[in-house]
């Protein structure tokens, strides 16, 4: 059985996240608070562990720090309603694999163990993994309007102007090419 976690744990985590991303990104807005629309606290922690393997933190935030969970959670009661079952079963399976191999739920496994579990999920439940992978990328690289890509962090990461430069004169953009 899954252990029930209190909301305090989540709040602590969120505060830590906010603190971390504030250091990295002075413009970053505060993380969301309050209840998830679809996910339970437990399933959110499991999903976070998977998403953060797909896009881990480095100089730039991880998937969950950029709001990917908010994106997925919102869409699971909107455009991705039809995928609810795939998510619930996939997340349960991920915890099952983690407990069987490492004796703990996925979110409490070590970084190495998490990677091993996510790799196992990729093989054993490709349909679920491919879905989470695609949705994670959407949440990280897509429009901030849907709750992910917080503060357009991925766009800054790849180096494109945000907010975009609009209404440019057509002849001012000539740049030197490397010889």
């Amino acid at each position: 059985m899954k252990t029930k976690k209190g909301s305090l744990a989540r709040r602590d985590f969120m505060i830590a996240t906010v603190a971390a991303s504030t250091v990295l990104l002075p413009g970053c807005k505060s993380a969301r608070r309050g209840d998830w629309e679809f996910l339970s606290e437990e399933s959110a922690e499991t999903l976070k562990a998977i998403c953060d393997q797909i896009i881990p933190a480095d100089d730039f935030p991880s998937a969950s720090e950029a709001g990917v969970l908010d994106y997925i959670d919102r869409q699971l009661v909107r455009h991705y309603r039809r995928h609810q079952k795939t998510y619930l079963e996939g997340l349960e399976q991920a915890d099952r694999i983690s407990r069987k191999r490492f004796g703990s739920d996925l979110e409490r496994a070590s970084a190495e163990q998490k990677l091993a579990v996510v790799s196992a999920i990729e093989k054993e439940n490709a349909a679920f993994f491919e879905m989470v992978r695609r949705h994670t990328f959407e949440g990280f690289y897509g429009s901030p309007r849907h709750g992910g890509n917080r503060d357009a962090v991925s766009w800054r990461m790849v180096g494109i102007a945000e907010p975009p430069v609009l209404g440019r004169a057509q002849d001012v953009q000539k740049k030197e090419l490397p010889s």
Partner: protein, 550 residues
């Protein structure tokens, strides 16, 4: 309902033009469109919900709710798809149709593209055929489309185009960085690069301003209305005549015929879902290749038990779009300059004339990319996820160039649209059932084109490249869908005559990509428009009061 001269079904690339030409000639016209009328304000810049990236739905229709299609893949397995899923083969559902959100590449086909069978002979298993019209027949209408819709670009660099009487009405946009990198490399390879023709203002034209070169281009409505579709050119002209009434969110159900076998009107569902009948003297079907075929097949009566125009089982056959071949090259310096529309340089050297290949296609650089569009287009051996993928996105998002192009597809009679026996749409009508395969020779051409694109990119300095050349196991249709109501002289092997008139119903016309016999090695929009102008001209010429001249 008051009788009108003409009902035009579908306000897209072709239907908008036909409505305008008929209305200007004095016919009373009702233009039916299943979708709403969007404007520049509906650009939204939503990277996840537009007409090319449809993760959260189609930006410009149809809605996912109540509009399924059934697709039978090459192995015979049946799938029911939502409109926002790739294999649905969607175009759009709105005023302007695909031209509201398209990339707006506006090529003319080459003279050989109208004579494919004469030029190459038909490969085994294909239904390759000549058009019953020639490049010279359609040339004046290409010019009319270029001037009325508004095309910028420049063919000066290339000898590979048909004769033309006037240059394009607008010069090309200034070259972007990719153009400057690719042009000298093309010349070193002996190719003839030229400025891509596009239905996009490079200067003030038709009362609207020029492109501001933003990042949200193909798949989006243009925020500054500089992209030219029928919704901001001919349709407003049609409405201004006072002869044309546009009815949006109206879904045609069937073409009604009388006991002599002539069309007498159109039954459609209005925006509130009520069934209406619009009586008329003639009907023009411009619903795009898949939906036009579906509407004819759904128009059954005692005289036409298998659907209108389908006496010889030709409606829905020869469905074709474009297979793509090309490559993505990766560079060790920035190639990205954040300047839309991105697509800027092309070569037509490879459209025809390669021994052993039945045609070819244009190669051009791609439209400006959004980050979400690059996640599966990273250099060879990039991990599909994890830190390695993130680092690759960071390193290569601004350091890649895509060169690819539509391959002249070899048509096959087995690639077709029929009616699904069980699945219905939200109005209760049988949905399109798409089945068949792309003719394998098309893939052979695609592989050769991928090699050529890779060679061009390597010559330009790419340090690595990935090839784009698959062998998908289903039809190709999508935004370039065509062929389902083939134009021809023989009623047993075609659906409409050279004037786009259905062979055995003298007051029903199909005017859109459906009539394309072959689809060229180019994006087909300008050809759809030219065919619409040409067919409208003959329709108006033969029109007399409330019927056709004897």
């Amino acid at each position: 309902m008051k009788r009108v001269n003409a009902v035009v079904i579908g306000a897209g690339a072709a239907g908008g033009i036909v409505a305008k030409e008929l209305a200007v000639a004095g016919l009373s016209v009702v233009l039916l469109e299943r979708g709403p009328w969007y404007t520049a304000n509906d650009c939204r810049k939503d990277d996840l919900r537009n007409q090319r990236t449809t993760a959260l739905g189609n930006g410009f229709g149809p809605e996912d709710e109540g509009n399924p299609r059934v697709v039978v893949d090459g192995k015979g397995a049946e799938h029911t798809y939502l409109p926002s899923e790739g294999n649905y083969e969607n175009n759009a559902a709105c005023v302007g149709g695909g031209t509201l959100s398209y990339g707006a590449l506006a090529w003319r086909f080459l003279p050989q593209d109208f004579k494919m069978r004469t030029t190459y002979g038909a490969p085994a298993g294909s239904s390759l055929e000549d058009w019953p019209i020639s490049y010279d027949d359609i040339e004046p209408f290409y010019e009319k489309a270029e001037y009325e819709i508004g095309v910028s670009g420049d063919y000066l660099g290339t000898p590979f185009h048909g004769p033309r009487k006037r240059p394009l009405p607008m010069p090309p946009l200034p070259p972007n960085r990719e153009f400057e990198i690719l042009e000298p490399a093309a010349k070193r390879l002996g190719l003839h690069p030229f400025h891509t023709p596009m239905a996009r203002n490079s200067m003030p034209y038709n009362g609207r301003g020029p492109c501001m070169r933003c990042r949200w281009c193909v798949g989006f409505a243009c925020e500054v209305d500089a992209k030219n579709g029928t919704q901001n050119t001919v349709i407003p002209v049609a409405l201004a005549t006072g002869n044309c009434e546009l009815r949006t969110e109206c879904m045609a159900r069937e073409i009604l015929t009388d006991n002599r076998g002539r069309a007498r009107g159109v039954a459609y569902y209005d925006a509130r879902g009520h069934l209406q009948e619009q009586p008329c003297d003639l009907v023009v079907v411009s619903a795009c290749a898949i939906e036009s075929a579906r509407l004819l097949l759904n128009s059954k009566s005692q005289l036409f038990p298998n659907g209108l125009g389908n006496r010889y089982d030709q409606v829905g056959r020869n469905l074709q779009g474009h297979h793509y071949g090309g490559a993505i090259g990766f560079f060790d310096y920035d190639t990205y300059d954040d300047m839309g529309p991105g697509a800027s340089i092309a070569v037509s050297d490879y459209n025809h004339g390669t021994p052993g290949l039945c045609g070819g296609g244009v190669l051009a650089n791609g439209f400006i990319r959004l980050p979400i569009q690059m996640i599966d287009r990273m250099p060879p051996n990039t991990p599909r996820w994890g830190l390695g993928h993130k680092k690759a996105m960071r390193a290569f998002f601004k350091r890649n160039i895509q060169v690819f192009g539509p391959i002249q597809q070899i048509p096959s009679a087995d690639a077709r649209v029929t009616l699904d026996p069980t699945v219905r749409d939200k109005w209760g009508m049988p949905v399109a059932r798409i089945s068949g395969n792309v003719h394998p020779h098309t893939f052979e051409i695609g592989e050769v084109q991928a090699n050529r694109a890779e060679a061009w990119l390597k010559e330009a300095g790419a340090i690595s490249a990935i090839r784009i050349a698959g062998r998908p196991d289903s039809v190709s249709a999508g935004q370039h869908q065509a062929g389902t109501c083939r134009m021809g002289n023989d009623p047993r092997s075609s659906v409409v005559d050279r004037d786009c008139r259905v062979h055995d119903v003298d007051n029903v016309f199909v005017i859109d990509g459906s009539v394309h016999v072959t689809n060229g090695g180019f994006n087909p929009a300008l050809t759809i428009m030219a065919v619409a102008y040409m067919a409208s001209a003959s329709l108006v010429r033969n029109w007399k009061g409330t019927g056709f001249k004897a």
